[in-house]
């Protein structure tokens, strides 16, 4: 009985949040002097224009899926990894270095770049996990600080040891075409890395819901003390989830280099490591939820891209809307108007 009431409430919340988000979008579009109806039409056209545009959704979603699922796993275990951005960059950097320095090109090169990127991201997150589990230092602060270090280290790397010797701009040499993740659907940018991201999300879902590892991670995340008294090692699980979470972000970085940019350069993440935090929040830390949330986010991005080109409605609207959605989700209880005292009294008076 109670369960159905809760589900009903949740459905009501979702509809209300969607409606309010659309309303905010309409207001923003109107404020640019455009017609919301026309904008909506262009938005949908932009998404379903052709196979390139649909493929583009997956291209944009790929790094968000990996980092978002990574954050979701960490948050579920009570480890607030805000460092996906830094882990992404370190993954990209190490992946590039491995790819460029290996003599042999081809699938082995790709595999090694991905594995090393995973390890790099995972080890970076491990620093925060060790500091948390031994000295109880806030992982939030540590991961944020590590972001700055790594982002700037990448800037340093592309100007020095990783700089393309034949160019003048701060970026690395090009990845050998044989070691790139090439499109697997012709005339689109849909690359094999997208499959890796989706498979990673499925594996994480399986891990969290069907294995003892996920079970222990969740137990530690929900109630550390009870998990400890129940014989589960808190430190071990914090380290585990941090490593997984950082590793996923690291893979995202490698894929961005070897599938999309084909070289390492600054600003390569497009802040997806921070968007990932929001994706995980919207998904309620569920790995498959993060997969879906990342796809929706990318869809909206592609749609508004078309609005920007044809109507001059700035693309920045996406981030305004995402911000609004997160606030609406976190503050959803404020939307339950029936709980407000003054409204209740009025009703009773009638």
């Amino acid at each position: 009985m109670m369960r159905t009431a809760e589900t009903m409430q949740r459905v009501k919340d979702i509809i209300l949040i969607a409606a309010l988000t659309l309303l905010i979008a309409a207001v923003l579009v109107l404020a640019c002097g455009a017609s919301p109806a026309e904008a909506m039409q262009l938005f949908i056209q932009g998404i379903f224009r052709n196979r390139q545009s649909v493929a583009e959704i997956f291209v944009k979603a790929c790094p968000l899926i990996l980092t978002g699922v990574g954050c979701a796993v960490a948050f579920q275990a009570g480890f607030f990894n805000i460092g996906a951005e830094g882990q992404f960059y370190l993954g990209a950097l190490v992946g590039t270095a491995v790819s460029l320095s290996l003599p042999l090109q081809g699938p082995v090169n790709i595999l090694l770049a991905l594995v090393c990127g995973f390890l790099a991201g995972g080890l970076l997150a491990l620093i925060a996990a060790l500091l948390k589990s031994t000295f109880n230092i806030s992982e939030i602060i540590v991961t944020i600080m590590l972001n700055y270090i790594v982002i700037n280290f990448l800037g340093y790397a592309v100007r020095t040891f990783l700089k393309d010797p034949e160019g003048n701009v701060p970026q690395s040499a090009k990845i050998d075409p044989a070691s790139q993740l090439l499109p697997i659907i012709t005339s689109t940018r849909f690359h094999a890395g997208i499959l890796i991201a989706i498979i990673a999300a499925l594996i994480m879902w399986f891990l969290m819901s069907r294995t003892t590892i996920g079970y222990e991670l969740k137990a530690v995340g929900f109630n550390q003390r009870a998990a400890q008294v129940g014989g589960i090692s808190v430190a071990k699980n914090i380290i585990r989830c941090a490593f997984l979470s950082g590793g996923l972000a690291g893979i995202a970085g490698v894929i961005e280099v070897i599938a999309i940019q084909k070289k390492l350069l600054e600003g390569i993440s497009a802040s997806c490591g921070y968007t990932a935090v929001l994706i995980a929040l919207i998904a309620g830390n569920h790995p498959l939820g993060a997969l879906i949330a990342a796809l929706i986010y990318a869809t909206v991005q592609v749609g508004t891209g078309s609005m920007q080109r044809q109507l001059g409605v700035p693309n920045a609207i996406v981030n305004i809307l995402i911000g609004a959605v997160v606030l609406l989700i976190l503050g959803r209880k404020l939307l339950h108007l029936e709980t407000y005292g003054f409204l209740k009294r009025k009703k009773e008076a009638k």
């Binding site: 069907r210 969740k218 137990a219 929900f222 400890q228 008294v229 014989g231 589960i232």
Partner: protein, 502 residues
Amino acid sequence: MEEILRMEHITKRFGEFYANRDINLSVLKGEVHTLLGENGAGKSTLMNILFGLYQPSGGQIFLHGKPVAIDSPATAVKLGIGMVHQHFMLVEAMTVFENIILGDRNTKGIFIDRNARRKEILELSERYNLDVELDKPITEIAVGAQQRVEILKALYRGAELLVLDEPTAALTDIEVEGLFRIMKKLVGEGKSIIFISHKMREVMQISDRITILRAGETVRTVERGETTGEELAGLMIGRELAPSHYAKVTKPGAAVVSLHDVDYQKKSKHNGLNGVTLEVGRGEILGIAGVDGNGQSQLAQLVTGVIAPEGGSVDMKGSRVATFSPNGFILENVSHIPEDRNKMGLIGNMSVMENILLKETGDPRFSDAGGWHLKRKAMRTYAEQMQQKYDIRCTSVAQESRNLSGGNQQKVILARELENHPDLLVAVHPTRGLDIGATRFVHDTMISARDAGCGVLLISADFDEILEMSDRIIVIFEGKIMGEYPGSNPPIDQISLAMAGK
């Protein structure tokens, strides 16, 4: 003498549970009035009502003879009531002076007239001998000094009636003497004090009158001169002894666990153990009696591996324990019903099923592929069997355990801890907050575990429970063992005295 406070027929209900029922309390000007009672007797609820943190379900409060409605702590302060909480409410990084004037609205615009405030505080501090260093940050002063800051803070806000909630709990003996001098000075100057404590010696030393609460009701108010510590202990605990439902065991089996001269934070009177030697045998229930906060939590954590002793040794089934970890003790087949089921016993956001299997997921019955992959079907079937066997009332075993009633939550823990026939069961306040039916169920289950050969260490602040269940009784006070008594026909007078530290 003039009556400053009168609380009449105060009742506070939480659902079906009465935390306070028809309580009457009268405090005179210039007296130290003690509220005496065990944990859960309703002292804190009553004081939270007085301070506006709770609204009473019934009854009336009078201050200086006039009825008042105290709807918030701000109102309480305005009416001249000051509260010093057991856990101090101080901003640690700020200085003493800043803490005292914190929240004082009597300022000129956005500026603080520091000199005038300072003068005022110094006057107060001299008048009541409340010696504090105004410019030191809170972190740098001792606990006793922090308490003086709290008292000064209350006086600075114009308190006429001070509530001191277990003020001696964190103090050393010398600091307690200092506090008592200050209290005498305060009442000498016409202030009134409500003193909350369950330490008989202190109560007899400082009180003018004493009101005893038991199970949410007023037992009696007595003058200090007309009573003795023994009588108070009896009134507080409730003397009538109902015959136990259970047959007592007089000859326990071999020792499951034995502690030899165990120390843990020996200097702390409330969170330590000092030279504790005891033994739990197979098939017996050893009851640890004592007022809460005399080392019971530490004892429980020690025999379940959560903390390690700083001195002495622990033998488990005849062999010395080298490393202390919860998992190590679980592997030794030690079960634990922790004192706080929500914080330590259950993972509220996880299902009944997941909680029942918290310690078992690696077992081949519930996971394969080397203890890696969960067998969800087997888990569910087992959890449903347990739901039947332990009569856990939930919509399904997938329900989150936080949505269960306290009694059903405790049954989930019992199912987890007792189903594997433990060698040692450590049960801490196992029936706290449960209704009679659930309490009986928990007790019956523990007795059958005992009869199956499990050694049981029962730690409870509920004296009736100790008498009902224990085959042997040990009294603990300030981390030390005060004495050991038989479980059949226990000498109640001696035990109550021992619990009061005599």
